[in-house]
Amino acid sequence: MVQVSMKLEMKDTPGQLVRALKPISDTGGNIIAVIHQRESLTRAEVIDVQVVIELPEKRLEELVARMNEQGVTVQRIGTERLIHKKSLILIGHIMHTDLTDTVDHIDTTGYAEVSELELIMPAIAEPSSARMMIKATNAEAMNKALEILRQVARKKDILVIESLEENG
């Protein structure tokens, strides 16, 4: 599997987005994120959509062809090999200590990113808990990203629980 981010352009008509995304599952891919920018500068009747997907590398060409058939223009493709994954759990005052800043520390490295985040806040003033998935280009990048996160977390008094398994 390879992770791909695509910038798509399509007509702003009902059902078009669903039709545009269907080829992804048809080619054995999974959607990781869909970012929909309404207020884009493009012509009124056209919308820009950014998707991040995971799919078998060999089927990328086929996917693009199928999307074109659906009237979607693929403007840009970026294949990143963020195949190294690590699940983490964070405990502490995650929101109060600027979650965006915490995530940015990883996302701005260029070699790793926070790909999933789920936060539970039980009550005001009580520590919250979050599950985070970090993806990185390779094991070394992952270790660097984790070290950055550990440092940020230490400053913010957040407990980071790492997975025991190398790629877990």
């Binding site: 789920e118 539970i120 808990s129 025991l164 877990g168």
Partner: protein, 328 residues
């Protein structure tokens, strides 16, 4: 095999009652608690002692001290099961060094002297051509030191991971299975007698870190100390964190970890798949060894308890008898 027994608490009484029940060719010729001692070369009446002790009385003669027993009793092996002191190792350290200097073997469950003075004590034992064994200091009934010293001869142990504190494992098991808060699970552990009134030694991860030091020194002879272990306890774990782990079919356990190639000595809560062999329930302990020939091996068993710890002590005593036949 003549044995002098120092300490008649949970472990000491466990040993005494098993010797009484099973015989095992062991005779107790000296014995002491914090306030009294007895010396009898012909063998002490254990039944009587246990009755007295369970009635809350000193075991023996208040004019006889533990050091009197060490110096004057007639024994082959000193069994040191007095309370652990992790800053000085005393009074166990003095008991142990005195017995070794007299040319007597020592078997102990006392983590203090072993974690603090491993090399020094083993060298002293060597000098006097006797054994110092400490199976009972780590992972209760699991014979992990025997496995490392004998069962895995010729292997290189590359890494060690373990659950070495039953109290923490009980708390995390209850939080994960019942959704209890940390405070609720701790209260339950206290009620069951698994946690001390002051649980910080366990829940802050100090106890498993001490065991990690003992095992790392036993395996790799690194001469490491408690200060070199990076320690995080379980007292900040939330039920929400366990719930989040559960969504991935995983859970959280307090793992002690040693990987010498990476100079890593760490005790920390970790995420593990529920199906991982180290995910044991309740007060159980577990250890995984990564070796070059035997691959990965996991051992699971009771990490504490009167009779379980006595099992490790008695195993060491009888092992010494086999090694040095002629002293029985």
């Amino acid at each position: 095999m003549k044995v002098a027994l120092l300490g008649l608490g949970s472990v000491g009484q466990g040993i005494a009652s098993m010797v009484l029940k099973k015989g095992l060719g062991i005779t107790i010729t000296g014995l002491a608690d914090s306030k009294s001692g007895i010396i009898d070369a012909k063998g002490i009446n254990i039944e009587e002692i246990l009755v007295r002790k369970r009635g809350g009385n000193p075991a023996g003669d208040t004019s006889v001290s533990a050091m009197d027993v060490v110096q004057n009793a007639d024994y082959d092996v000193l069994v040191e099961v007095t309370p652990t002191n992790i800053s000085t190792g005393e009074p166990a350290r003095t008991h142990i060094t005195s017995a070794l200097r007299k040319g007597r073997h020592v078997v102990t469950s006392n983590k203090g002297p072993i974690a603090l003075h491993h090399r020094e004590l083993l060298t002293l034992a060597d000098t006097h051509h006797v054994s110092l064994r400490y199976e009972a200091t780590v992972c209760g009934a699991i014979p992990i030191i025997h496995i490392l010293e004998h069962g895995l001869l010729g292997n290189q142990v590359k890494a060690l991971h373990g659950i070495m504190n039953g109290t923490c494992n009980f708390i995390l098991t209850r939080m994960s299975e019942e959704g209890l808060s940390y405070e609720q699970a701790l209260a339950e552990a206290r009620e069951m007698g698994y946690a001390e009134a002051d649980p910080s030694y366990d829940v802050k991860g100090i106890d498993p870190a001490i065991k990690l030091v003992i095992l790392a020194n036993a395996i790799w002879n690194l001469g490491v100390t408690l200060h070199e272990v990076e320690i995080t306890g379980i007292d900040q774990i939330t039920p929400e964190a366990l719930r989040l782990a559960g969504e991935d079919d995983a859970t959280i356990r307090l793992i002690a970890e040693a990987i010498p190639a990476r100079q890593l000595l760490r005790v920390s809560p970790r995420i593990l798949p529920r199906s991982h062999p180290l995910v044991v329930k309740g007060t159980l302990n577990a250890v995984t060894l990564e070796t070059d020939m035997a691959g990965s091996l996991t051992f699971i068993g009771k990490g504490a308890g009167s009779i379980e710890t006595a099992s490790a002590i008695i195993g060491d005593i009888l092992f010494i008898r086999e090694q040095y036949d002629g002293c029985s």
